[in-house]
Amino acid sequence: MAKAEIRNKIRRYRFEAGEMTQQELARQAGCTRQTIILMEQSRYVPSLALAFRIARVFKAGIEEIFEYVE
């Protein structure tokens, strides 16, 4: 099975949300700033629950922010 990757557009969405800080996004999504940093660097893939909370912060669909790439 080919290795899949999950990419995200969190950095872009933060920019479009008036350059929302990582700290503010972490607070609203209920995670640590460290986790946001790692997600933006594609070094950490969040659980579905956290992915939904992040999408909710940006008032977007989960698939608009997270992309499954095979």
Binding site: A4, E5, I6, Q23, A26, R27, G30, C31, T32, R33, Q34, T35, L38, R43, Y44, V45, P46, S47, A49, L50
Partner: protein, 150 residues
Amino acid sequence: MTQARKRAVFTFLIWGSVMAAFSVIFFIGGGPERYALEKWRRLAGAALIAGGYIFFMLMNFLTRTRQGGDVGRDERDEDIRMRANASAFVVVLIYVFVLSIFLWERHQGGGFVPVGWMWFLAYSTSFAAFISSSVIALILESKAFRHGQG
């Protein structure tokens, strides 16, 4: 620094210091025979362990999540903590096994093991558990731990 990383670092420092001090009390100028005979060594060892637990609890209190503050721990920290504890359990099993076999090999000719070694085994098992879980947590933390991607 996240709460999880702070706690891992302080846990390592606290229990590493207690282990070093206990090793001095146990081995310097004595060893297991003297430790079993000299009351002051046993009292000093007990005081060190008690001090270690007091500092450990104090550290957990001081690094707690404050109401209205930033998120203290998240799913990633919890995953790392669970994996670190599970790995530390295996490390402790291996440690107890290796130390027991070492004592057997060293003392099988004499037919008995100095009872002071029981104190060492009891105390050092705690050190092994705390220190290994904190070190493994720091290693997993530094590797970012790619949850869900294997």
